[in-house]
């Protein structure tokens, strides 16, 4: 039976610690505050990635674009992809994991609150590290997939303009290693939290769908990230220590990198989309006033997607010439994934079918997520056929496909989550009028930007080209897409204004503004530090609806309680010190080639900081 670890701890003296001010945020171990930190940081990185995209769109607006030079363009798409995946969508999902997994399972915090703070600080430092490359003029430029041997080679990849290899790829390799530590630590934390800290009565098959999809994501993270970690270590050794893991002139094989990268990279795709699936599965029932259709099928299709997601990686490599048998295997495995995905889509339609639909911004975003994901799924089936993929891979058709999946799917889903859960997080409802303007402009801009990419790709425009010559017929749609991209950007400006306006607006959100189904709506908005004064008893997958029904349709506003007798973990800055230690250890690797004699002294210093941080952390009293 799942009970809270926190509940069993001996009551300790509740230290008087600051509740406001910068120091309270630096030392916080409260999952809600860490969630907000994740969200704010990730949103800033997301805007940065968006600006990178806008510069690319301006460069491609017409043929022979001269806005940026070719190397800058390579850096822009590399950093756009890296930023959006590792610093945008993943941490935005982590915001929701942090804030809502404990609330939805009826827990007072995550299993390891200080580890949670550590994950955030490592993520922040990793994101700053990768982007610091811009400041020293060496941004990563080998693509977010970093294919060896372009990234491993030290001689042949050098250009006439820069004969010695720069630190560009080193920033990328080390930055991803830092971010990987944050992801693995967070995944362990949420995995244990979901397994151990569920409220009494919340069986696995009563968990909210968002928690279920998050659970699958944590498993994927735990299994996928070690693979990229190993691959990145190999790549770093090739670059710095003369090994030949991926260098053909020393007997290595560049295709090995592709296998390792995509064994991580394909599950990564599901890491990006499943949280949005979970959010959509929360929102549609609430605004249809009907429970999720086919709950069990939804759970198992999510698990199935995660499982088969590990067996399809080579569909990213059909053009490498793997031979007909491997092509057939990976093609069939890929097509099979369409089945559980289809089940999800049909169940969503089944959920709204016969309901009473309220078109709030959150609902519209979630419905658009379903509608747009269908398009991305169908184009995915088109290039699951290897011969067709021989024309489509590395073209704008693929760019269209994954933006329908990741923008249409993930970003619409996460934005839906933001509108849905904003009142719970901040006690204020986002403005619905501005929300709808945001929605429509985002929807139109999204389709204007990405739909014509299907035409461009099929009509011969490859990806990752800094420009294209006139006469290939690419001019019209590229200009059209650039206009669409600015409409898209403008929609997020409205969102930003909405956030600021709401920030200074009145605290107008009741505990349960939407008549939600899950436990987070049973407590005040925003929740108190300890979340639940008394751990709830759960009898179904829609406990808040049960409570509302039992109360005759009207629930009283939950009262604020003192909670002085509830033991909560102390704030701590040792997670931050430990994160700085990790940052110094890995960051020192940047200087291997710059200072081959002394770089390791930097590493030793980092090890000392890390050791000191972890030591003090280990012997710190918990309460």
């Amino acid at each position: 039976m799942a009970t809270s670890v926190l509940e069993h701890r001996a009551p300790a003296i509740h230290h008087a610690h600051p509740k406001t001010g910068i120091w309270s945020w630096i030392t916080t171990v409260d999952h809600k505050r860490i969630g907000i930190l994740y969200g704010a940081t990730a949103f800033l990185f997301f805007l940065l990635g968006g600006i990178e995209a806008l510069i690319m769109r301006l460069q491609l607006m017409g043929p022979n674009g001269k806005l940026v030079d070719p190397d800058t363009f390579n850096a822009l798409f590399t950093m756009h992809g890296t930023t959006m995946i590792f610093l945008g969508v993943m941490p935005l999902s982590a915001m929701f994991f942090n804030y809502f997994i404990p609330l939805q399972i009826g827990a007072r915090d995550v299993a390891f609150p200080r580890l949670n703070a550590f994950s955030y600080w490592v993520f922040l430092l990793g994101g700053l590290f990768i982007n610091a490359s811009f400041l020293v003029g060496a941004p990563p430029n080998g693509g977010w997939f970093g294919y060896a041997n372009l990234t491993s080679s030290r001689v042949i990849a050098a250009t006439a303009a820069a004969p010695a290899p720069g630190m560009n790829i080193d920033f990328w390799v080390i930055g991803l290693q830092i971010l990987g530590i944050a992801s693995i630590a967070a995944a362990l934390n949420f995995f244990v939290t979901i397994v151990n800290l569920r409220a009494p009565g919340m069986k696995m098959l009563r968990m909210p769908m968002f928690v279920w999809m998050s659970f699958v994501v944590q498993v994927l993270l735990l299994l996928a990230f070690p693979v990229i970690t190993v691959a990145l270590v190999f790549l770093m050794m090739d670059r710095n220590f003369g090994t030949s893991f991926f260098m053909p002139d020393g007997g290595g094989d560049p295709i090995m990198w592709q296998h390792l990268f995509w064994i991580f990279g394909h599950p990564e795709v599901y890491i990006l989309i499943l949280p949005a699936f979970g959010i959509t599965s929360e929102i549609l029932p609430v605004f249809s006033r009907k429970p999720l259709f086919g709950y069990t099928a939804m759970v198992f299709s999510g698990i199935f997607i995660g499982f088969v997601g590990f067996g399809v990686w080579s569909h990213h490599m059909f053009a490498t010439g793997m031979g007909p048998f491997a092509d057939t295997f990976f093609s069939m495995a890929t097509m099979v994934i369409a089945l559980p995905t289809g089940v999800k889509i049909f169940n969503w339609i089944g959920t709204i079918w016969g309901g009473s639909l309220r078109f709030t911004t959150a609902m519209m975003m979630a419905l658009a997520m379903v509608a747009l994901f269908i398009i991305g799924g169908l184009s995915g089936v088109m290039h699951s056929a290897p011969p067709a993929d021989l024309q489509q891979t590395d073209t704008y058709f693929i760019v269209a496909h994954f933006h329908y999946v990741l923008f249409g799917g993930s970003i619409f889903g996460l934005t839906a989550g933001a509108y849905y859960w904003w009142p719970k997080m901040f006690g204020r409802l986002l403005d619905e009028g501005m929300g709808k303007a945001h929605f429509w402009l985002m929807f139109v801009g999204m389709n204007m930007t990405f739909f014509p990419m299907h035409f461009l790709g099929l009509n011969g425009m490859p990806r990752r080209v800094y420009t294209y010559p006139p006469g290939l017929g690419f001019e019209f749609w590229n200009k059209f897409e650039t206009i669409g991209a600015f409409i898209l950007a403008f929609s997020f400006l409205i969102f930003l204004v909405n956030i600021i306006k709401t920030w200074f607006g009145p605290a107008n959100a009741p505990a349960d503004p939407w008549h939600g189904a899950t436990l987070e709506w049973s407590i005040p908005s925003p929740p108190q530090e300890f979340n639940f004064p008394k751990l709830p008893m759960v009898g179904s997958s829609v406990p808040q609806w049960d409570a509302r029904r039992a109360a005759g349709g009207h629930l009283p506003e939950p009262a604020l309680v003192s909670g002085a007798d509830i033991p909560m973990p102390n704030p701590s800055y040792w997670p931050l010190v430990s994160a700085i230690g990790v940052f110094l250890v890995l960051g020192s690797l940047l200087f291997i080639r710059v200072n081959p004699v002394h770089w390791w002294q930097f590493t030793l210093f980092g090890v000392a900081v890390l050791f000191f941080g972890v030591f003090r952390w280990a012997f710190e009293p918990p309460h």
């Binding site: 086919g294 097509m335 269908i374 089936v381 011969p387 024309q391 035409f455």
Partner: protein, 365 residues
């Protein structure tokens, strides 16, 4: 040209704008010289047929599913004083049906997929012309081992004959893509001193005479975006004539030696003699093989073989028309013409030298 999709397009346009746009794009394939939707060879036609199969299935699914979604949005929108909807939790029969139907559709896509995989991914059984394709940062080298030709960036082939490509790279990964004729395949570095030899096959039989564009499709460094290529399809007579011309001074024919008769003509020609001297003293020779110079037979230099560059239609990997002005500017400022290119002049060339080299290079057809 192909008018069929246009006619079909009109009928569909009324039903859905998006669908109409897709067909419009297909109908306008004439305006896209690099399109994949207007196949001009046997292999690209096989691929196109498979694509159209999955495309139309996708259209059917798209219309039905999005249709159901949009219908539900409209039909079940909340009205004032709606009673609580019926709290259904699922329907096993329905769920089995909507899992089974997509499974059947997938099987209908999978069968032609597997058939096409086995037709397209194996090496050519009996190619009439064999070409070795070698990717370089940032140009394409084409060697015809049996015909004794080495050239760059413009793959010249006869029509209606099976062309067998064997492809690899001299440095990083590239991807050979000729959308209308040969689709796409990655090329991998191959180093003779190791056992690793990943040579990728590709084959095609071009329908008709024509000039087709293509380009590298795998990120390969700063100039990936302008690593273009052309495939020029000739009739048999023109192809034979081209081969005969290219064989003169080819590294594959007597190590680049030219016949005595040709040699004596060149010795008497001031453009040829002055040009050859400038090619040596200007430093061009350190990267480029050139007929009539000591390194005419070299196969492993970094730059493209220039022996018959005057006969090519473009320079800089399909980036500029091969005109005297462009060639002169290329020799004056290669980094300005193609930033990051490996073409670095050991020393700036004088205007006299540039004029000499332009005349000399253009004389070598």
């Amino acid at each position: 040209m192909d008018r069929r999709p246009e006619r079909v397009g009109r009928a569909w346009l009324a039903r859905t704008v998006l669908l109409g746009l897709v067909i419009l794009a297909a109908a306008c394939a004439d305006n896209y010289p690099q399109t994949t939707l207007n196949p001009r060879s046997d292999i690209t036609r096989l691929i196109d047929q498979l694509f159209r199969t999955t495309f139309w299935w996708a259209v059917v699914v798209f219309v039905l599913v999005e249709g159901a979604l949009v219908y539900a949005l409209w039909r079940f929108r909340a009205k004032p004083n709606d009673p609580e909807p019926v709290q259904t939790h699922g329907n096993t029969t329905l769920e089995i049906i909507w899992t089974a139907i997509p499974a059947v559709i997938l099987v209908l896509i999978a069968i032609p997929t597997v058939k096409t995989i086995f037709k397209t991914s194996l090496p050519a059984p009996n190619p009439a012309v064999e070409v070795d394709v070698i990717g370089h940062q940032w140009y394409w080298e084409f060697r015809y081992p049996k015909l004794g030709v080495v050239t760059a960036n413009e793959l010249v082939v006869p029509q209606k004959k099976m062309i067998g490509l064997r492809m690899w790279s001299a440095d990083v990964l590239h991807s050979f893509w000729s959308p209308q004729l040969a689709a796409k395949r990655d090329v991998f570095p191959i180093f003779s001193q190791t056992k690793l030899k990943k040579v990728n096959p590709l084959w095609f039989t071009a329908d008709t005479v024509g000039d087709y564009t293509g380009q590298c499709a795998e990120l390969c460094g700063i100039q990936h975006g302008r690593m273009g290529l052309r495939v020029i399809v000739l009739n048999d007579a023109d192809f034979d004539k081209w081969v005969a011309a290219e064989r003169v001074g080819s590294p594959l024919v007597e190590g680049g030696k030219v016949p005595a008769a040709v040699d004596s003509v060149w010795k008497a020609d001031s453009i040829m003699t002055k040009g050859a001297t400038t090619f040596l003293t200007g430093g061009c020779i350190s990267c480029h093989a050139m007929v009539g110079t000591p390194l005419a037979g070299a196969m492993t230099l970094r730059g493209p073989n220039l022996s018959h560059v005057g006969g090519r239609t473009t320079i800089g990997a399909n980036m500029y028309e091969n005109t005297p002005t462009n060639l002169a500017q290329w020799l004056r400022d290669p980094q300005g013409m193609k930033k990051g290119s490996h073409m670095i002049l050991p020393r700036p060339l004088t205007e006299d030298e540039i004029a000499t080299l332009v005349a000399y290079l253009r004389a070598h057809k």
